[in-house]
């Protein structure tokens, strides 16, 4: 065939480097609306669920049973299950029906029913409903802080800059897992160098992640995964009861927790029971709810390649975020992994959460260049900051971060690296040299950092974790003269005494105040209600160095 020049050019567009797949319902490779998803239903006897979504209690697997016993508000279930799914879908987009009235219904229905509600909604309706159903009034954002070398000085500097930009949470993981204590330490010190309370976490295997929290090196946990089929849950090395117990353990130490799940995970791990991605995610969310955890990180997260490849992929991801909000869970809504070569797809995906606003629009924006992002790269990285700011400005949308000046960034990065250098010195850990502090202050990436002795680092990271806690870090910083950072760390440790930030969607704002769904709920009921950007914040959002004023004309 003689080739069309237009088609030849099209073929080379970035979008055509992406992988796409047909639906294949028999193996669960289908976003939603699968003929294999069960029909909704519930039957109670003496307050006990004896039938749910087409199964009798004797046939329940461990996830069914946990959802039936803990996940659903049974007192209202029989009434709520009688309401037509289309009626519930319409209530979701009706500004005259309050979030609270909807929650009464949606927390009392079954996974199959909530899945069917979603099937009625198109993407704009999902966004409309997301704007209304988000738990906290103000949307916020989270950053990833990692690097290829696990370089602690660079990590502390990146954490400090992320805090300055206004991220409410920062999350790290490791390139080499034994570096974990240093990475957690770098975020603790770096993140708290400024005038702000910021939550930090270190994503690790469940028991190790818990240990970081117990030691006071982290202040929340997020990567606590649940899955929608029993076989995959078992492969993930947990059960609903082990995860439920873990939830109580975190709360017993005053540490904020959210679970993680997402469409595509069960397919990726090889067992879908022929169910659609959305139905399996609904099960994850009811399980999360049943554990009494305040929130979830979902939105396909690291499995986005799978829903991203099938028809309706972005729609299903937006729908799963919305389902979390419909169970009154905080939602950190993904947008945290690279999945496409196309900038147009990348931003279109983001807009489904960016425009309505979620509790955390990304559950990790890479604060470094993507090659340093050890979560396998994020949907947006540090090269995208200015695009993000301009998009906020173009649309008067609050994406959770604010522009900063280069001077302020350099100042805070230097302070963070210097503070961590002092901590390392105090605990006799392998030296952070002045050259490293200087490099971390001005670095683009880990390529700009001097090499460290990894063997020495790993040995002392282990020793550090055995001997010291966040409390000792506060003392060390005081003795080294970093009094403000020391006070900030003690202040974060004190938060776990009060338990206030264990509640749904809790973060701290720029004034050190707690904002959660309980004291600052989203009460959207149409135009001029819900979250509106204040004039003060707006004036900060539109500042950029290259913007022209009357003086320039």
């Amino acid at each position: 065939m003689k080739r069309s020049k237009r088609f030849e050019i099209l073929e080379k567009r970035p979008v055509n480097l992406d992988g796409f797949s047909e639906e294949w319902a028999e193996v669960g490779l289908i976003a939603m609306e699968s003929e294999y998803d069960p029909e909704p239903g519930i039957k109670l006897e003496n307050g006990l669920v004896v039938e749910m979504d087409g199964k009798h209690r004797e046939e329940f697997d461990s996830i069914d049973l946990f959802i039936a016993d803990y996940g659903i508000n049974l007192a209202y279930a029989e009434t709520a299950m009688k309401i037509d799914t289309l009626e519930i879908a319409r209530m979701l987009v009706d500004v005259n029906v309050s979030r609270e009235d909807i929650l009464k219904i949606t927390t009392a229905i079954t996974p199959a029913k909530i899945t069917k509600v979603m099937n009625h909604l198109n993407v704009v309706e999902i966004m409309m409903a997301q704007m209304k159903m988000r738990a906290r009034r103000r949307p916020s954002n989270q950053a990833h802080i990692t690097n290829l070398e696990d370089n602690p000085a660079l990590m502390a500097a990146d954490a400090a800059e992320a805090a300055l930009r206004g991220f409410s949470e920062i999350e790290t993981t490791t390139a080499v897992s034994r570096y974990a204590p240093f990475n957690a330490l770098a975020l603790l010190v770096g993140g708290l160098c400024g005038k702000k309370r910021i939550l930090s976490q270190c994503s690790l295997e469940e028991a190790m992640e818990l240990k970081m929290g117990l030691k006071g090196l982290t202040s929340y946990a997020e990567t606590v995964s649940v899955y929608g089929t029993e076989a995959v849950m078992t492969d993930g090395d947990d059960t609903p009861w082990s995860k439920g117990f873990l939830s109580a353990v975190y709360a017993s130490r005053g540490i904020k927790l959210r679970f993680t799940s997402g469409t595509g995970a069960e397919l990726l791990m090889g067992n879908t029971e022929k169910k659609s991605m959305l139905y399996l995610e609904a099960r994850c969310l009811f399980l999360t709810k049943g554990c009494g955890v305040q929130g979830t990180q979902n939105g396909s997260v690291s499995c986005i390649g799978i829903p991203g490849a099938v028809p309706g992929g972005f729609r299903v991801i937006a729908a799963e975020n919305l389902m979390a909000s419909m169970l009154n869970l905080e939602v950190a809504s993904g947008n945290d992994q690279t999945f496409t070569h196309s900038d147009m797809r990348r931003m279109s995906k983001l807009f489904m959460q960016f425009l309505p606003g979620t509790d955390f629009i990304t559950s990790g924006f890479s604060a470094m260049p993507n090659f340093d992002d050890m979560f396998a790269g994020s949907n947006t990285d540090c090269d995208d900051y200015d695009d993000w700011y301009i998009l906020q400005r173009d649309m008067r949308v609050d994406g959770g971060i604010l522009p900063i000046t280069e001077e302020a960034a350099i100042r805070i990065r230097n302070k963070a690296a210097t503070a961590l250098q002092a901590v390392f010195q105090h605990f006799d850990l392998p030296e952070i040299t002045d050259a490293e502090v200087e490099a971390a202050t001005y670095a683009y990436s880990s390529y700009d950092m001097p090499k460290r002795n990894m063997v020495e680092d790993l040995k002392s990271a282990e020793r550090f974790l055995m001997r010291y806690t966040g409390f000792d870090v506060a003392k060390a910083l005081w003795e080294k003269g970093f009094h403000d950072v020391s006070e900030n760390i003690l202040d974060m440790l004190k938060q776990r005494i009060t338990g206030d930030y264990l509640h749904t969607a809790a973060i701290f704002n720029e004034e050190f105040e707690l904002e959660s769904a309980l004291n600052d709920p989203n009460l959207y009921e149409g135009p001029e209600t819900g979250y509106r950007i204040s004039e003060e914040r707006w004036s900060k959002m539109i500042q950029k160095e290259n913007i022209l004023g009357p003086k320039d004309f």
Binding site: S62, S242, S252, G292, E487, L490, R496, I497, L518
Partner: protein, 140 residues
Amino acid sequence: MKENLNVKKDYPIADKRPELILTPTGKRIDEITMDQVLAGNVKIDDCRISDQTLEYQAQIAESAGNRQMAANLRRAAELTGFSDERVLEIYGALRPFRSTKEELLGIAEELEANGAVQNAAFVRQAAEVYEKRKKLKGDK
């Protein structure tokens, strides 16, 4: 009779009812300062949440209509008295294929004997479910 807190008037507790918050060691929040830390009067154990505070937070959750969170916070309150090592071990024992039914029932007894009644019931149910769904030691 302890009072029953309400989300509308008592939350955040640290701002609205700070007098109610005491650490397990009996300290008030405003007593935890760097001065006191440096003087040796405040230790890491003073930076923990107490079972009573968790009960208050459970009441807040309940009044906000979140009964599942209230239940979790009450299970958490029961676990404040257990060491970090022990809770880590129990979590491990609840993971699939780690424990026999008898071992799980033993943990339930230990929990109950130490006042963790709701956790004990939770672990007992796990033992039953694990037996039926083949998640006990040796079932793999």
